[in-house]
Amino acid sequence: MFEIFTVDFMQNAFISGIIVSLISGIIGSLIVVNRMVFLAGGIAHTSYGGIGFAVFFGLPIFLGASLFAVLASVLMAFLALKYKERVDTFIGLIWATGMAIGVILIDLTPGYNVDLMSYLFGSILAVETTDIYAMLSVLAIILVIVIFGYRNILAVSYDSEYAHIRGLSVGLLYTLILVASSIGIVMTMKVVGLILVIAMLTIPVFIAEKISNSLAGMMIISGLISTFFTIIGLMVSYSYNLTTGATIILVSVVGMILFLLFNQILQINNKK
């Protein structure tokens, strides 16, 4: 049972899984309370263009994906603030364009035989020590932004009109939240992939939202729940030789269903 912790690549997987869970707990909370889930999906898919770009030009994949994700988040923030009513159309457009650029650039890369599955469903078992350093750096950046900007981020997230009246730069803070989210999304994609990233960003937050009475509490609780699901998912996938990213998500879904059932039973008992 405990041999799982002695295998080198599994050690890296556990460490990176925990770091990314904490990142997704914080970022997921911001995405959910700001009702940016569709935007987050758009950023994740647009970053595929960055993967193609990195493959074509021989750059590090993380760099290409992050670059596209940050550019997409800035563009989406601008469009969301300027054209509120049509923002979903623009997100869909950017989403599809990013994916198309990625596919075409990978097609054009001579002799390249890319394992698309690792980007679509994650590759946590292939995490290297340098990836862990990158993840730690991203976690540190996000923590600095959230801790030092907490009161302003809270104000903009809760009531952007009032924050504007109080003299806050709502556009700047909104863009900052999206840019931080975009880097967090790229990191989370390493664990569960492009297709499942939204589930990892929202399921633990959905549970945390029910049991926390502050945004900070929600971030901490969802980070811990996400860590729990990731560890269980890793152990199950290792034991039964399953795709890790998909297993983590299924564990999360089962966890969410159990939580809802428990919550429902608790409510019925309280009524009695």
Binding site: V33, I147, F148, G149, Y150, R151, N152, L154, A155, S157, Y158, D159, E161, Y162, A163, H164, I165, R166, G167, L168, S169, E209, S212, N213, S214, L215, G217, M218
Partner: protein, 246 residues
């Protein structure tokens, strides 16, 4: 002699070249209580947004305590519509009230002891101090609106603006809010946008009817309502305001 708190001169505002407000003139003194009434789309909320500096003034002038709205941001308290309050957001009452202190010049991290004391004071003023650590979603509509008023009171504003403060709130809750406003009106100027004319009439000393143009009535004491005459007073006042400036 009481000093001018709010002055609006020859204000005209348009969206896409269609005038929403035209040649608005209004002057409010210390301790005035103005009720703004009028049909939907008549320009009530637009006027509020112009006073708050959310919309840029194109033609005309608005001064608050003799300065532009942007210079007087921290002397204006604002309470949004009850229906716009996000009740699913995980946030404590005290955190919402503390937003009243937020501006770019304050430290980014945490809240000072003086800010927390002030926020608790504002909550006590509206009778909500025991709910400081409650989640906003667990409160009733009337209680939530009291929290929003406490947030607006955080900076000791000289002008308090409220947009439909009693929308979707039961009769008892409405009365409690207006009694609270009456108390606050002893030391600040209040502007309420409302559809509840009969309730508002018992508290306001001025009424403005807005439908692109503004018609102001400065003395409405004779329209004070009772359960028996409320409807007739309302009808009479509306007919007068829709007619001509008095």
């Amino acid at each position: 002699m009481s000093s001018k708190i709010l002055e609006i001169e020859n204000l005209t505002f348009n969206y896409d070249s269609v005038n929403v407000l035209e040649n608005i003139n209004l002057s409010l003194n210390e301790k005035d209580f103005l009720a703004i009434i009028g049909p939907n789309g008549g320009g009530k909320s637009t006027l509020l947004k112009l006073i708050l500096g959310i919309l840029q003034i194109k033609n005309g002038k608005i001064t608050i305590n003799g300065q532009s709205p942007s210079q007087q941001l921290f002397h204006i308290g604002y309470v949004p519509q009850n229906t716009n309050i996000n009740t699913s957001f995980p946030i404590k009452v005290i955190e919402i009230v503390l937003m009243g202190h937020i501006n770019e010049k304050k430290p980014l991290f945490g809240y000072g002891k003086d800010e927390i004391a002030c926020a608790m004071g504002a909550l006590a003023q509206v009778g909500m101090q025991e709910f400081a650590n409650a989640k906003i979603g667990s409160l009733s509509g009337g209680q939530r609106q009291r929290v929003m008023i406490a947030r607006a009171l955080c900076n000791n504003p000289s002008l308090l603006l409220l947009d439909e403060p009693t929308a979707s709130i039961d009769v008892d809750g409405q009365k409690q809010i207006y009694e609270l406003l009456k108390e606050l009106n002893r030391y600040m100027t209040i502007v309420v946008v409302s559809h509840d004319i009969s309730v508002t009439l018992n508290y306001a000393n001025k009424v403005a009817y807005i439908n692109k143009f503004l018609t102001l009535h400065n003395n409405i004491s004779r329209f004070s309502t009772t359960p028996q005459n409320g409807h007739f007073c309302e009808v009479e006042l509306m007919q007068m305001l829709r007619g001509k400036n008095v």
